[in-house]
């Protein structure tokens, strides 16, 4: 059943802490060499899932296998994975080089080889010359690099990263995102990356698994997850979106409460109650009375306008719902005032009809 290419496979994995179900029967296959993100709000079970792969927690039910090998009760020190911890967990009583060498020493690698590989790993994360520093003498970004080097030097088959950029400030975080992705491509190791930051997950991952309340809700590439969310939670958690209730009136058509019909991507039968999800940037606004050919036209009134610099957000009362529409702050894009009547249009492919 387990795919030969699967780096990590979770089968019906459940973890309970007393009464609390932290992870609820998760099935997941992570391919060899991919950058996979587990994305979800805090307490959704993503870190617990990662810890079960690392061997720091034991699943209550289900099994974890790494490259086809059943992990069972194998302790962390006997698993072919390494972890970059959330707060780096660098050993404060050891220098940078000693931190990086720790895993190799424990594996009883020959001293000469340790020296070489440690130097290589320190170069890889661009900390050359910092070998003798203590972790306390390094900046947050540098500590982060040491944690990476300490894990990568062991050449694990899978690298687990638990919100590794969470403690860094925004600028550094964005720079590190690119660097991490680049690094992953260079070393060719499978990365499993836990984050609550949707932007981080979207920009770096080959595939994303969205989690909430212990369940894995959707797995797919960044575009797939953003454009075709499986349910309301995924649509709302990743990016911003508007929800409009309706009923499927025909395949590819949804009737709204006021009787108007819009075309959208439907996945359920005629008559089923659905919620349309519509991203603010997918909406175009036109002045009332303008000649429009697009099939999806909704009339509304501008309630509020918010200025964001690169864009403007309009809060529009459609009668059946109040939605946000984002318009570029670019030449040629018409602006509207509060109280003005507008027509909102969107592409039939831009809206998903979700059945809760």
């Amino acid at each position: 059943m387990v795919d030969r290419r699967a780096a990590v496979a979770l089968t019906a994995v459940t973890k309970r802490f007393g009464e609390v179900v932290a992870v609820d029967s998760v099935d997941l296959e992570i391919r060899d060499g991919e950058f996979f993100s587990l994305l979800g709000p805090s307490g959704c079970g993503k870190t617990t899932t990662l810890r079960m792969i690392a061997g720091l927690e034991v699943p209550t039910e289900g099994s974890v296998s790494i490259f086809g090998e059943e992990m069972g009760l194998l302790p962390p020190n006997r698993r072919p994975v390494n972890t970059v911890f959330q707060n780096y967990a660098l050993f404060p009583h050891m220098s940078v080089a000693e931190n990086v060498a720790f895993g190799l020493k424990m594996k009883r690698v020959a001293a000469g080889e340790i020296g070489e590989r440690v130097a290589g790993a320190i170069d890889l994360v661009q900390l050359t010359g910092m070998d003798d520093r203590r972790p306390s003498q390094l900046s947050g970004g540098q500590q982060q690099r040491v944690a990476l080097a300490r894990a990568l030097v062991n050449r694990p088959k899978v690298l687990l990263l638990d919100e590794p950029l969470g403690a860094l400030d925004l600028k550094l975080r964005q720079a590190m995102q690119l660097e991490l992705k680049d690094l992953q491509e260079r070393v060719g190791i499978t990365f499993i990356y836990v984050t609550h930051d949707q932007e981080e997950a979207l920009t770096m991952s080959d595939r994303i698994g969205v989690m909430n309340e212990g369940r894995l809700l959707q797995i797919g590439g960044p575009e797939h997850i953003y454009e075709q969310p499986a349910n309301r939670f995924v649509a709302e958690f990743i990016g911003e979106t508007n929800f409009i209730d309706g009923v499927v009136s025909a395949e590819g058509e949804v009737a709204l409460a006021d009787g108007s019909v819009v075309r959208a991507h439907t996945r359920s039968g005629v008559g089923s109650k659905v919620t349309l999800t519509l991203r603010p940037e997918k909406i175009h606004l036109h002045p009332d009375g303008a000649p429009i050919e697009e099939p999806n036209r909704l009339r509304g009134v501008v309630k509020r306008r918010m200025y964001y610099g690169d864009s403007l957000y309009y809060e529009i009362d459609l009668g059946v719902a109040v939605i946000d529409a984002r318009q570029e702050n670019a030449p040629g894009v018409q602006r509207f005032e509060a109280g003005e009547r507008v027509i909102a249009t969107f592409d039939p492919g831009a809206s998903e009809a979700l059945t809760e």
């Binding site: 690392a54 302790p75 962390p76 050993f91 720790f102 062991n154």
Partner: protein, 296 residues
């Protein structure tokens, strides 16, 4: 504490100085009672002991404050004093080591429990303090005596007999008395430990034992050192325990000092021995803080 000046009201250097002086004076007045207490009851007696070390012994035993000499100080290197000092030192060291070996697993156990059980166990550590140390030492005298439970158990097992009035009895008494002073700093150090570091070590192929040796133990070093000092120093100068459990045969530094003052009536020698111990301890403590400052 100095209050920051409002940005629109520049304070002159002179005013700032006055404020600083006032703040200092306020702090001094608050500390005055403690100062007075320490000067009258600690500093002056200590100076007196120091002065007596260089006085000569009068016929009545009281120090002669006119005839200054180094007689008592030179007696410190007498074979009797040196033998007692040597015995005291290694007994104090042994007490420290035994305390450490007993306290570490216990402190580790407490520190890794849930907060509720943790507090309960800490109370158990403190309970002995609720009764008088002397009373507890007498209790040990009964236990270790000919008909004592401890002796009976040893005899039944065929391992030990009556230990009272021997060095092992003193060791048992000292370990019992000073164990909490080892447990508490160790507990504090282990409780503060960042357990994700242990997880990181496990993740980096360390076995449970290796992770303990390479991470937990070195990081609890401040607790080990603090506990060792808290046990070693009072054990070195212990008087009550060796006196009650050791009998007349096992004279230690504490008893020797008391003997000089009360029995031999040689105050200058008693003072000199006291001062010597204090100076040695002072050096040990300074050394400790030096090494601490380096490692932290």
């Amino acid at each position: 504490m100095r209050r920051a000046a409002a940005p629109d009201a520049p304070v002159t250097a002179e005013l700032e100085h006055a404020a600083e002086r006032a703040a200092r004076w306020r702090g001094f007045r608050l500390a005055l009672p403690s100062f007075a207490y320490l000067i009258v009851l600690f500093a002056i007696p200590l100076i007196l002991v120091g002065v007596y070390s260089f006085a000569s012994r009068s016929r009545t035993g009281a120090p002669e404050l006119s005839d200054w000499n180094l007689d008592s100080v030179s007696k410190l290197v007498d074979s009797t004093v040196l033998a007692i000092a040597w015995r005291s030192t290694w007994l104090a060291l042994l007490t420290t080591v035994v305390c450490l070996l007993v306290a570490y697993p216990f402190a580790y156990y407490i520190a890794t429990r849930s907060p509720r059980i943790r507090n309960l166990l800490l109370v158990f550590v403190m309970i002995p303090f609720w009764s008088n140390f002397l009373v507890r030492t007498y209790a040990w005298k009964v236990l270790l005596g000919a008909d004592g439970l401890f002796t009976k158990v040893g005899e039944a097992l065929g391992i030990w007999g009556q230990l009272l009035f021997t060095l092992p009895a003193v060791l048992i008494g000292l370990v019992y008395g000073f164990l909490p002073f080892m447990v508490l700093p160790l507990y504090a150090a282990i409780e503060r430990l960042d357990w994700s570091l242990v997880e990181a070590a496990r993740d980096l192929y360390a076995s449970g034992w290796k992770a303990f040796r390479k991470v937990t133990l070195p990081l609890s070093r401040p607790g080990i050192i603090a506990g060792s000092i808290l046990v070693f120093i009072p054990a070195l100068g212990a008087y009550v325990t060796p006196d009650i459990l050791g009998g007349a045969k096992t004279v230690l530094l504490g008893n020797h000092i008391v003997n000089q003052f009360l029995a031999a009536r040689n105050w200058p020698l008693g003072s000199a021995v006291s001062m010597a111990i204090m100076i040695v301890m002072l050096f040990a403590t300074v050394l400790y803080f030096r090494t601490q400052a380096r490692t932290l």
